[in-house]
């Protein structure tokens, strides 16, 4: 039961520098492909990346302001941060489910590094969020919230969330090849998760007895960390972030290994 593919007599192909370089090219070219394909033929183009979150913020802050927002300082900012951070997470996982099933041509390509695909998906969704960031900063400015030194933690938060998304994307993508139910389950779960993530309400609204259960949802701590940096201008609580980063890394390493070990079966299962 052996299977080998030697590239020994082609020094160029086997050098690891080239491999990294190629991986980088795959990442950038595919990311650009996905972004372009999404917006090329729409009139508003990138405007949609702004329009979606903005609309959600308007809806939430008009409907729920009186019910939920009374104790929250500058409620629209509060909601906007939540919507953006959650949106990145949701669309990354939602998109990663169909990574393999939606990229049949790539899966068939001999020696294509399929393990790069989760990075591509998370990249694309990150860029969507990044487009809306300037609008968020303007909104913060208008509400009298100005940058503090704690904002230096923002790249770190992005890295942790990136790890978490990519890490979870690996098992989801490979699971969906074998069991197409995964995509339905994931979309239901994500919807459910959105309501147990404090996007338009404060975690304090949740009865104390249930609150601990809420922290099983990684996005509760994640959204709280973004908010404490952006809205309160203080450093986020470190402990939950270490845990989340650890979980992300764990899934990334293990999930990636499993993904690669499974990848030879992807095409025949489709």
């Amino acid at each position: 039961m052996s299977f080998e593919q030697t590239t020994l007599d082609h020094p160029q192909a086997s050098s690891s520098a080239r491999k990294w370089r190629h991986g980088w090219d795959v990442l950038t070219v595919l990311t650009r492909r996905d972004i372009k394909a999404q917006y090329k033929r729409s009139f508003l183009g990138f405007g949609w990346a702004l329009g979606g979150p903005l609309l959600q913020v308007i809806v939430f802050s008009t409907i729920f302001k009186d019910a939920l927002g009374t104790q929250v300082h500058s409620y629209p900012c509060y909601v906007f941060v939540g919507v953006l951070v959650w949106g990145w997470f949701q669309s990354s996982l939602g998109g990663s489910v169909s990574l393999i099933t939606g990229n049949f041509a790539l899966a068939r390509q001999p020696r294509f590094p399929l393990a790069m695909l989760p990075f591509v998906t998370v990249n694309v969704r990150f860029l969507h969020m990044a487009i809306a960031l300037p609008l968020m900063f303007i909104l913060l400015w208008c509400n009298g919230i100005y940058p503090t030194v704690a904002w230096l933690a923002l790249p770190g938060l992005a890295v942790i969330q990136y790890l978490l998304c990519v890490g979870l994307a690996y098992p989801l993508a490979s699971l969906n090849v074998l069991h197409r139910d995964t995509q339905h389950i994931v979309s239901v779960l994500l919807q459910l998760m959105m309501f147990v993530t404090p996007i338009f309400y404060r975690i304090e609204v949740v009865p104390e007895a249930m609150r601990n259960w809420f922290y099983l949802n990684p996005m509760v701590s994640m959204v709280a960390a973004w908010r404490s940096v952006l809205l309160d201008g203080v450093w986020p609580e470190a402990q939950p972030l270490w845990i989340l980063g650890g979980i992300g890394l764990f899934f990334l390493v293990l999930g990636r290994k499993m993904f690669i070990a499974q990848s030879h079966r992807f095409v025949e299962e489709m």
Partner: protein
């Protein structure tokens, strides 16, 4: 030189996808297949649909693993499998070419350095910055082919590439493939056309339901494959009553062969079965299917009584799109027309047949059942009687 590809006792068994298919559980997609391909060798793979050709190509590409046995492939693999499958309509030809190149294993800067060559080969200079959705299928295939052959593969896996573009472009593809081979690239090519196999391949592997039916030089294996097709037809021909369809009596196994899953009902000559040399001749075949079949191949040939062939053509060779036969019993017609039949005067037979889409066997083949006569002045011997004359020239100056 050492082999680029070594396959040893490769077996492949697919896991049953649903529980109800236990009967097929033990079907081997490939069973005990061994061969090797040297650098600069063109290796053909032939066989009917479902014989394991695509599975083999996929395993060679490393997309999937053999259940047992081993495959070793040395060098960079290029693939002409699903041309233009990964193209995105909204991106320009250039963007798609970069994408395809990177996907095939090149670095971005390497593919960009070759872009001019790629575009020139695909003959798409004017269109390369247009979105691919404005391309015709032929243009897309040309671009995809061009990218694939410019990635300097050391092993090239080809799935019937010759349907790319028009005849001139096909000739170019041939030349390019030969150049790659001469440069030391090992090429594995799946093909249905025995002529193509004879022309291009050095050695050929014939797969029959996943097992090696033959492995040897192209000439020998192609010959065996064609012979089996004829024998398979004979074996499958059922006994049946005599019938006629506008010509002589048709007797199964005597002048009528096939499985009769598709039947020829009538064969009608236009204007009739006696024409003058150089006249037009049309033949209308009426047929119906008894079971649904995928686009069958229609063949027509004209031969003399002793069997000397004068004309032999079919819808496969002529690249005619034949519709699938889905409706049982629905009667259909196909018409074959010759503008000028410049045959010498004499008696001829028209042989007609409907074949399985991969030439596995005949559905209904009528041999020497439709005689016709060509009238004309007996001014010469031989097969042809085109308009011709003698003329004196020269000698004016004396």
């Amino acid at each position: 030189m050492e082999s680029r590809i070594i396959a040893e006792k490769v077996c492949k068994q697919y896991r049953p996808t649903s529980k109800g298919r236990s009967a097929r559980q033990h079907a081997w997609a490939l069973h005990d297949v061994s061969f090797s391909v040297a650098p600069g060798e063109m290796f053909g793979v032939v066989g009917a649909n479902g014989a394991g050709k695509s599975t083999l190509l996929r395993l060679l590409g490393g997309v999937g693993r053999p259940s047992t046995g081993s495959i070793r492939v040395a060098g960079r693999i290029g693939a002409l499998l699903d041309l233009a499958g990964g193209f995105l309509g909204d991106l320009t030809g250039r963007e798609n070419a970069v994408l395809a190149g990177v996907v095939a294993g090149l670095l971005k800067r390497e593919i960009e350095a070759r872009m001019d060559q790629i575009v020139a080969f695909a003959e798409l200079e004017e269109f390369i910055d247009e979105p691919v959705r404005t391309y015709s299928t032929g243009m897309m295939m040309r671009l995809a082919f061009s990218v694939a052959v410019h990635t300097d593969p050391e092993v090239l896996l080809v799935d019937e590439f010759l349907s790319v573009g028009d005849l001139a472009f096909q000739a170019k593809c041939h030349a390019r493939i030969r150049a790659l081979r001469d440069g030391g690239c090992a090429i594995v090519m799946v093909s249905h056309g025995m002529e193509q196999v004879r022309q291009l391949c050095d050695r050929v592997l014939w797969l029959r339901s996943g097992e090696v039916a033959a492995l040897g030089t192209a000439e020998v294996v192609a010959g065996l494959y064609e012979t089996e097709m004829r024998e398979e037809t004979l074996r499958r021909t059922p006994d049946g009553p005599k019938r006629t369809s506008g010509g002589l009596d048709l007797v199964p196994r005597e002048n009528r062969f096939g499985t009769f899953e598709v039947e020829l009902d009538s064969v009608v000559f236009h204007p009739g079965d006696m024409i003058f040399s150089g006249d037009a001749l049309g033949v209308t075949l009426c047929y119906h299917a008894k079971v649904p079949v995928n686009s069958p191949v229609f063949a027509v040939s004209i031969s003399k009584k002793d069997g000397t062939p004068c004309l032999d053509t079919n819808t496969h060779m002529a690249r005619v799109e034949v519709p699938d036969l889905r409706e049982k019993g629905e009667r259909r017609e196909i018409r074959f027309e010759i503008d000028r039949l410049e045959l010498a005067a004499g008696n001829y037979f028209l042989d007609v047949g409907i074949f399985e889409s991969d030439w596995k066997h005949a559905y209904d083949y009528h041999w020497h059942a439709y005689p016709f006569t060509v009238e004309g002045a007996p001014a010469h011997k031989g097969l042809l009687a085109p308009p011709c004359r003698w003329q004196f020239g020269g000698g004016k100056g004396t």
